[in-house]
Each structure stands twice: as C-alpha cells, then as structure tokens.
C-alpha cells in the first residue's frame, strides 16, 4: 500500500472472450513483434563496442614512471581502502642496481587483485599516493577458472613498450600539479 500500486485480486468468472485466451495471446504476440522493430538494446560485443565514458572504471593498471621504473611502493593504502578486500601484496626491499626497475626503496614483489571480488569502485586509485594504480577503460575478460581471475603483477603492470595512457582520467588540478617539476613527487 505504500506505493499505491497494489491490486486487489478479484476472482470473478471469465467471460467467453477471456475464456478462449486468443485475444490475450494475440496481444502478447503483438508486443513481441513490436519489439522486433525497435532499436536493439544490446551490441554484438567483441566486434562492436559500446561507447564508454572517459572515466569508466575497468581493469587496473600498475603504472611505471617515465624511466620505466615501477611506481608502486607497496604502501598498502589501496588494500586498506578497498571495500571488497580484493587487493593483497607483499613488499620487498630494492637491492643495489635495481633502481631502474623500482622507483622507491621498497616495492611490491607480489601484488594481486582478485577481479571476482573487485567492485571497480576506484577507491584504490584515489588512495594511491604514488600515482601507481589506475583503473582503465579495458574490460576484464571472462574466464573459466576462478584462480585465473586473481591478477598478479604479470597482468597488472604495464609493459615498458606499450604504455597505457591514463591522462584522460586525471583531474585538471592533478595535471596542473604535475607541471611543477621541482616538487619531489614529480621528479
């Protein structure tokens, strides 16, 4: 009764036209045929792709900096921000000679996101102090095994020679901040 849409059930005798059901059936068929000429609401996915917003939140990427070193320092803020508890990581200390591989003294030796748990809310991206994790416009593909949805660093870290552009995802304030090269964060 809250919505005023409830109907009281009336059990009255059906008349002749109602009893032969045919008008009701044709009415249903008419609805079906009408829908056949409507614009399709689905797309044929792998061939056709739907237009998405520039801030669409899809599969994560772990960014490298300009020199190709991994930005992630395993600070754990993404994991603690994650409402679905999808992120786990193990930290390790950078050794001498690995400066080109890892940006900071500490790095994530294991970094895993369980894509089945992930709700793509983007809080990890927001929590990241190192601009390491971003959600991209890529769609997480389907798979058969549950284990295959636990994405490790092999799938998350971007390749050095095929970078993933996330500049569209950054707010004007961030873009402005990044212009100041004297700040240690941007060096």
């Amino acid at each position: 009764m809250l919505t005023n849409r409830s109907k009281v059930v009336v059990k009255k005798e059906m008349n002749f036209w109602e009893r032969i059901y045919l008008p009701a059936i044709f009415g249903g068929v008419a609805v079906t045929i009408k829908h056949m000429f409507r614009r399709k609401t689905t797309v044929r996915f792998p061939e056709a792709k739907r237009e998405i917003s520039s801030v669409w939140r899809g599969q994560h990427v772990l960014k490298r900096d300009e020199k190709g070193a991994e930005r992630c320092t395993a600070c754990g803020l993404c994991a603690v921000a994650c409402p679905a508890e999808a992120i786990t990581m193990t930290a390790a200390e950078r050794k001498k000679g690995e400066e080109g591989l890892y940006r900071e003294e500490k790095y994530a030796s294991v970094y895993e996101i369980n894509m089945l748990r992930c709700i793509f809310c983007g809080l990890c991206e927001e929590a990241c102090p190192k601009e390491a994790i971003f959600l991209t416009d890529r769609i997480v593909p389907t798979d058969f095994q549950r284990n295959d949805f636990v994405y490790g660093k092999d799938k998350l870290v971007e390749k050095v020679n095929e970078r993933i552009d996330v500049s569209v995802r950054q707010t004007p304030a961030v873009t402005e901040f990044k212009k100041h090269k004297s700040l240690s964060h941007n060096r």
Binding site: A74, V80, E104, E105, P129
Partner: protein, 335 residues
C-alpha cells in the same frame, strides 16, 4: 597539592607535577601532544615544542599570565594556575608552526616507512599541521645506517627528540650512540658504526616517535594495519616479558613493548624477547590488544568490549565535554 584549571577543567595534583602530567590526569582531547617528552625516561622533554600551552594566570598569588607560551612538559604547576590548550587559538597557531618546522627536513616517505600507521609525527601532522608544504629547498639527506644487525637508522626521518639517547643512557649500561654535530647538521650516530648490542637497546625502536629507528627483523614485512596485535607474555629472566605480538596468521612478524594511551612504554623489554622469539609457541597469548578505534590499525580488528570500561569512558567523555562548555576564564586575567 596544587589546584589548577586546564581548558576549564579543574584538577588537583601534587606540587612539582608538570602541566602536561596534570593534563594527562584529566585525559581526553585536552592533553597536549608530546614528541620528545617520555614519562619513563628521566630528563626528556623541552626539545620538540609541540606541547606548548598558554598560561593565562600564573598562580593564585600572582595571577599575571606568563609572557610567552610555555612547554607544558617542563613547566611545574602552581596553585590557581589557569592553562589554555585547545581553547587558545594562539596555542593552536603556534603548534601548527612547530609541526611545520618538524616537517621541514622530514622526507614524508610514509608509503615506504614501517612506522606509518603508528607514527606520532603522522598523527601530529594530521591533527595540527597544514595540508601543504611551503618548503621548496632540498631536504637534508643521510645514508641509512645499520645500528647492529637488528636496528636500522633512517637519519632523514629523525626529528632529534633525543629519546633514543636517553634509552642508551638510562636503560643500557654503556651508551655507544649519541647526537653528533650541531643545529641543522646534528645527527644520531654511533661511534664509528659500532654495533649497539646491549640487552635493552631494542627499546630505542619503541621510544622513537618517528620511523628513524626501525626493527630490521620487521623491515618491509607488512604494514602495521594488516597485522593483528595480541597481548602476550613469557617468563623472561631479564625483563617483565609483557609484550605485544604483531601477527599475521600464525606468524609473529614483530614483537614490541606495550605502549600506554599516551604512546609510552612503561615496561621495557629485552632484546631477547624482542628479536629472538618469533614463534607463537614461545608466548602465552592473553588476547587481542586494545587499539584505539581512531587508529588505522583498528581496521578489521575485533576485540571483546568491556562494557563496564566503556560506560566509564563514555561518562568520562561526557564530563570532559561539560568542562569544555564552561565559560571562558575571566578576560580580566588576560589583559
């Protein structure tokens, strides 16, 4: 006994108590923060200046205000003293400045630092500091030093509170580290990289308010907020054996001494307890450690609530809030 008012709350303490300790007897928000003062180490305090308070009336006999803000950890109380901490905008402004000074040379590498999440400087800056830095020059840099094989010194993070040198002086029989240099150039160091291998030297990790001295056995193992703190004890011939185990699953990642509500260790523990016993079977676990719910470590941390204690705490808070609402001290005293 001296009766004084702090932020409108009256308290009676023995003569010779400092303002800071009087405030701690009241408890709650009005306790000034302290980065260098440590109640269980003698002669600490007076260095960091974060505990500055305003004394609006010196005493009952001489109700003139003190000319400058005073360090509450070093100033003894007097009968009839009126102290303002949170109620004085001047104090808050000064504290903000002090935090900015403390952070001048601090690298702000919290994402890397093992202390993050239980760091006094982090809390202080979060509560009292400015969100942005005005500092453009290069921060001072130092090489990382291994003090023995169990302790790592990150001199860049140090705020020169001198607590660790007092640990060296008062808890161990032979101090082999200290502060070298002066002013901007001062640094904590050992005599020619000499190992600190005294039985109680590990306590300098616990007293360090920042991440300058960290446990090497815990280095980068886990962020504190992913570990589960448990109260535990063992029979130790050298110390009380009362510790906190920071565990993950069945692994003991770190052992530390128990800190009280003001972040201070009352029972120091020996290095054997701290570094050598990383097995759950070595310890008698008493239960989950109480973690303040405002701390990030309280994430996913469950413990049994003592309803009696909770009731007392709520009543204490109510009392405190009532005190805060009291009329401001007479303005005639200030002029």
């Amino acid at each position: 006994m001296a009766k004084l008012t702090i932020d409108g709350v009256e308290v009676e303490v023995p003569d010779g108590t400092t303002i800071l300790n009087a405030a701690r007897q009241i408890g709650g928000d009005l306790v000034p923060p302290a980065m260098c003062y440590y109640s269980t180490l003698k002669d600490t305090g007076g260095k960091c200046r974060v505990c500055l308070v305003k004394v609006a009336a010196g005493s009952a006999k001489d109700p003139r205000p003190m000319p400058k803000l005073v360090a509450s950890c070093r100033t003894p109380v007097a009968d009839g003293m009126v102290v303002q901490n949170l109620t004085s905008p001047e104090v808050l402004e000064a504290r903000k400045g002090v935090v900015e000074f403390l952070l001048l040379n601090h690298p702000l590498d919290c994402p890397i630092c093992d202390q993050a999440g239980e760091c006094d400087l982090q809390n202080l800056a979060y509560e009292h500091g400015a969100a942005k830095t005005r500092y453009e020059e290069d921060r001072r840099t130092f090489e990382k030093i291994d003090i023995g094989d169990k302790i790592k010194l990150h001199m860049t993070r140090c705020i020169l509170c001198y607590r660790c040198t007092f640990v060296g002086d008062q808890l161990t029989d032979k101090r082999v580290h200290g502060v070298l240099g002066r002013g901007d150039k001062s640094e904590i160091s050992t005599f020619i990289q000499q190992n600190v291998d005294n039985d109680f030297s590990g306590n300098m990790i616990d007293v360090c308010p920042v991440g300058a001295l960290t446990d090497k056995t815990f280095r980068f193992k886990s962020r504190v907020w992913f570990t589960k703190p448990l109260d535990a004890h063992r029979n130790c011939t050298k110390c009380s054996g009362k510790v906190v185990l920071w565990t993950k699953g069945d692994d003991v990642l770190r052992v530390s001494a128990r800190k009280d509500q003001f972040g201070e260790v009352k029972d120091y523990i020996c290095n054997e307890c701290r570094f050598e016993h990383k097995n759950m079977s070595d310890w008698t676990v008493e239960g989950p450690r109480h973690i303040d719910r405002h701390s990030v470590i309280a994430q996913n941390h469950y413990e049994k609530i003592d309803l009696q204690k909770l009731k007392k705490e709520v009543e204490r808070q109510l009392e405190f809030q009532k005190g805060k609402a009291l009329p401001q001290p007479d303005n005639a005293l200030n002029s």
